[in-house]
Symmetry: C3
Subunit: 243 residues, 3 copies
């Protein structure tokens, strides 16, 4: 599965919906047992949430958008498929979350390919289920520091802290992901899926139990004047950088 | 305490019962403060559960067997004694669980002495309390990968991931275990036991609260046709290997 | 903030009360965003709880004392301020707890500057919220071993296990703490504080829910004859050492 929403695979509502539908199809098609997630956009795995969807829209739009973000994570995190992330570019914020939701992460060794949940840098807060996913991957203390400082890890740092499982030269990302996939394919599906569910269900249930409250929380947070202003400032700077 | 159920210290119902009674006796005998667990069978610490007890028997037998497996873990994991595992052979599956339930693990440095919860390789699933015990030892992410792939770790890998505390040359396993024991013996028993209970009680309570459901779950899983077939296949292959 | 209760910054009731009031003031004074905690006493960050407050006093005193210990931790662990520990001396027991409650720990590289929760060595048990704080920092397995054995880690060991974040030469502790502080100051306060709360609130709520029971538990434990005797023995040995 190659993400293709140029230039940086931002998770627009449209792109999110497309991803969710594709994942559902693959999951229901019994001829597929595993999927490698990678990017078609040079230098970026996914830039994460699309700030355009979170800026200057109405409350109903924010709610619809957030529900789709939740849905993507729910699909990924408990997928019956083996998911291997072949991370061939930067993956900040929700781009990082998508990687963390896979079963294995291979990162291309390029200092520009940073990875992390950097929400605080934008003045916003990663939701609790982003946090839970990171704690499950790198533990409580490393998460505490990474989330508060909004750290983006270089490949060497990401490997060291456990954010990814392997760092390989850029031209070997896809082939490594495929051999990892072969290793996971060797395990009987049924036993592997039950084991995955046993490991991850509590974390998923945590969100499901308060899904609506989480949407309300996002909507009221993102629609605050102060947050809207800081997002608009950030977007403006981004545009100036480009031009 | 030297496990002696040749050739591979399989946990037959009889052997399990013997272990449980011995542990109870030691625990109630105030002259004992600690026990080193090791194997009398060359090359194997314990091969884990006895597939013969899980194949072609009736439901009542499966239930009785599983209750004994639970009982052994409950005895070990919250034992008032200091338990040091001197792992002088391979310890897959429940053999690994016994090691994980001790207070400290010394592994003999021999590439054949692999250790891990490899249930998925047999098409079965490690119970949640095996999983909890492993998470408490090596953390969530490493457990997720190890359990899904049914990984058996070499001594170097086991040390790296935290599955064991020390790897030493084969002829030093017993002496190392004894000096570790001396270190633990230097701590006042009462304070150490209360601390151990504080660390492990929640995990034990997790099983105790649903002990019967866990037995029912095992019985209905293991008695499925598909599982019985795959176990019989596995046993057949095992016999052919030997001859 | 420089601890100054010579000779070893023992947490007497008076000193505790002073610390709590100072922290409250700093927290409410909006001109302060972060505080470096360090010691004015050579060779000791803080020796922890003051055994004089726990020996030969009445039950009401023990209860008052314990409530103050809880209060200090509650203040530190969820502080809105960025707290950096510049650990320029030994920090056993509650001295270690204060360090663990900060956001970042810099330890001076001196083999005498040991750090750890060594309660079992005195025949007492670290309370569950000391344990929770340590588990959040170094994980379950390392905590299990450290707490049961009452381990005091050397700087190299403390770094290795994750008890501190950085070890630097003694004359660079303060300057390193200040540059760490600058890094944390670069993050928008509001987002950082919400993130910190998200990470730590469950642990704090664990104590708040059973605060009175925890006080009762301490009072009845510490007033036991056997505990009083072993504390008096310990104090006597300490005095003999000094003279």
């Amino acid at each position: 599965m190659k993400f293709k929403n140029p230039p940086v695979n931002s998770l627009s509502l449209e792109f999110l919906t497309e991803l969710i539908i594709s994942l559902e199809k693959l999951q229901n098609d019994k001829t597929f047992r595993g999927v490698v997630l990678t990017s078609d956009c040079p230098g970026v795995f996914s830039a994460g949430l699309d700030l355009m969807e979170m800026c200057g829209r109405n409350l109903a739009h924010y709610a619809e958008y957030w529900k789709a973000v939740q849905e993507l994570w729910l699909q990924l995190y408990l997928s019956n498929l083996v998911l291997v992330a072949a991370i061939n570019g930067a993956s900040p914020a929700a781009g990082c979350l998508m990687s963390l939701s896979c079963d294995y992460r291979v990162l291309a060794d390029n200092p520009k390919h940073v990875i992390g949940l950097n929400e605080t840098l934008l003045g916003i807060v990663a939701p609790f289920w982003f946090k839970d996913t990171l704690v499950n991957t790198i533990g409580h203390r490393a998460t505490e520091r990474a989330l508060q400082l909004g750290l983006l890890f270089s490949p060497a740092e990401a490997l060291q802290v456990g954010m990814v499982d392997q760092v390989v030269p850029e031209d070997q990302v896809q082939s490594t992901a495929l051999s990892v996939m072969a290793q996971w394919m060797a395990i009987p599906d049924h036993a592997r899926q039950l084991t995955k569910t046993m490991m991850r269900k509590a974390t998923v249930d945590h969100l499901i139990k308060q899904r609506d409250a989480d949407i309300q929380n996002f909507v009221s947070f993102i629609s605050r004047d102060s947050i809207q202003k800081s997002l608009q400032m950030y977007l403006k700077n981004l545009k100036q950088k480009k031009s």
